[in-house]
Amino acid sequence: MKRYVLPLGRVSFLVGVLCCVSVVHAQPVSPEMLAFPCMACHGPEGESQGEIPSLKGRSYNDLKNHLQAFKSMRRRGVIMNRITRGYSDEQIEALARYFSGVK
């Protein structure tokens, strides 16, 4: 028996399509519901440890401008270009309002 079997032919990548539908017209989502999932990366109430930027303590305009810049690709981020495109302009404003209001 062969020591191990390795018929490694040409590898075809299934460049997976993240299957999606547009949910732009869905019901409005509460500011808390929008903000909570961000905290897994940005820390509780947006207070981060380590290299991921904190959201806590930043102004509404600062947050909104950053998020919009990521969304429109004017600014290159590590993860955020991908994430911000999941939010409408109103949702980005709601997020900026939520995190600028955290004490």
Binding site: P7, A40, I83
Partner: protein, 425 residues
């Protein structure tokens, strides 16, 4: 669906009676009682957020183990660049700062009619809403010869705890020139990119100390998540060391002979491994089966707006146990789902309707300590159920900044631990 006033009074009334015999339950429960089963990414997050959102709801968290060792960064512990201690967490902050009543015991039964949870230690807890995040169980025997005893020789290291150290010891003891095998199951399973992260970090360790070794990934699938990014990393960092065998090419392992270190594929070919990490097919944790919360797939069907079980009302199932397609089974998903459920449970117990959910998942995978690749998505509920938002999410670009992602992955770990257990690391 609303909790009617009358039903509400009956529930709390019943709860008060039964609690007389359960003195550990000390919180005032003005608005209701929530029991959470499982203190992992899903359960601990749910407990913390419910208490944060509404301190008038009493929350009891039942978790078997006094400490929780995470699977995330487990492969880094295996490879030796992260200490086991730094991925081990406890429930002190949940207990002390958030007033969660943490009980270390095993849930052995749930009665969805009387809404009671029975613990191995003998006590019973009554709930108005139950949140379950008990994680996974293994389908022992699905790979012939792979049972619990075999897993002590060919560790899965897929549940946290001591198995990752066993795998680390085996890699240390491996002869130079040997073969390490990682097997990967079919979807669905916990952490879809995890087996490939494991293979990468085995190669990282072996290249340093035993450069003539090989790592073989035997896959029950014809493809795998972030494949192009992993393969690019393997070629540039560990040339010739890592080989992935697709199910089309004999990658599917159907039998093991653990004592001999032999794995047999669907074509009957035998592979001799010096170290083998067998990641077997999975299903929802045992308690979900005992409580009649699973369907024929072995996982728990839920209504994805609130993660309430479609089989029994007032029970929310989140995390790996739940069928939450298209979300992958990850710690990030479990943490996000917990927040949906926390908001829904608090709404119900205040007599309100829950709002619309919004969730995120991001999975970081280490190809090397300073080389990480990721995939993320944002999820909303629409006419066709839970879906990734079009245009949002996606993978690391092929020319992405892998070093920056590595720094982010470590920062993510600290932050999700703080967000889950309330504890800074």
């Amino acid at each position: 669906m609303d909790v009617s006033r009358r039903q509400f009074i009956t529930i709390t009334g019943a709860a008060t009676l039964s609690l007389a015999s359960t003195p550990v339950f000390g919180q005032p429960a003005k608005k209701g009682r929530v029991v959470v089963i499982g203190g992992g990414f899903g359960g601990a997050t749910a407990a913390r957020y419910i208490r944060k959102l509404d301190p008038e709801i009493a929350v009891t968290l039942v978790e078997i183990n006094p400490q929780y060792t995470t699977c995330p960064l487990g492969n880094a512990v295996m490879a030796g660049f992260v200490k086991l201690k730094s991925i081990t967490h406890n429930y002190d902050v949940l207990r002390e700062r958030y007033g969660v009543n943490v009980i270390h015991d095993a849930v052995i039964d749930i009665d969805p009619v009387s809404k009671t949870v029975r613990l191995q230690g003998g006590s019973e807890l009554v709930y108005d809403r139950l949140v379950m995040s008990p994680g996974i169980g293994f389908r022992w025997g699905a790979i012939e010869g792979y049972d619990q005893a075999a897993s002590e020789l060919m560790p899965h290291a897929w549940k946290g705890g001591s198995q990752i150290q066993l795998l680390r010891k085996q890699l240390h003891a491996m002869p130079d020139g040997g073969v390490a095998v990682v097997t990967a199951p079919e979807i669905p399973y916990r952490c879809p990119p995890g087996p490939y992260e494991r293979a990468s970090l085995m190669a990282y360790y072996l290249k340093k100390y035993k450069p003539r070794c090989k790592v073989l990934v035997m896959d029950a699938k014809p493809n795998f998540p972030k494949a192009h990014l992993f393969k690019q990393g393997w070629e540039s960092l560990y040339p010739g060391m890592v080989e992935w065998v697709s199910s089309d090419s004999g990658g599917q392992v159907i039998e093991v002979q653990a004592k001999e270190g032999i794995l047999i594929n669907s074509e009957g070919d035998a592979v001799k491994a010096d170290v083998a990490s067998v990641i077997p097919p999975q299903q929802a944790a045992k308690i979900a089966h005992v409580a009649d919360l699973v369907d024929q797939s072995g996982w728990c069907p839920v209504e994805l707006r609130t993660f309430e079980s479609t089989r029994h009302s007032a029970i929310h199932v989140i995390g790996d146990s739940a069928i939450a397609r298209p979300m992958p089974k990850s710690g990030y998903s479990a943490n996000s789902q917990a927040k949906v459920v926390a908001l829904a449970v608090v709404a119900y117990l205040n007599g309100n309707e829950p709002g619309e959910p919004s969730l995120i998942n991001t999975c970081f995978s280490f190809v090397a300590p300073d080389h990480v690749v990721s995939v993320s998505a944002v999820y909303r509920f629409g006419e066709k159920g839970l879906k990734a938002v079009r245009g949002g999410g996606g993978r690391t670009f092929m020319n992405g900044d892998f070093e920056a992602e590595a720094r982010f992955a470590r920062s993510w770990y600290k932050n999700i631990i703080a967000d889950t257990f309330g504890q800074r690391t």
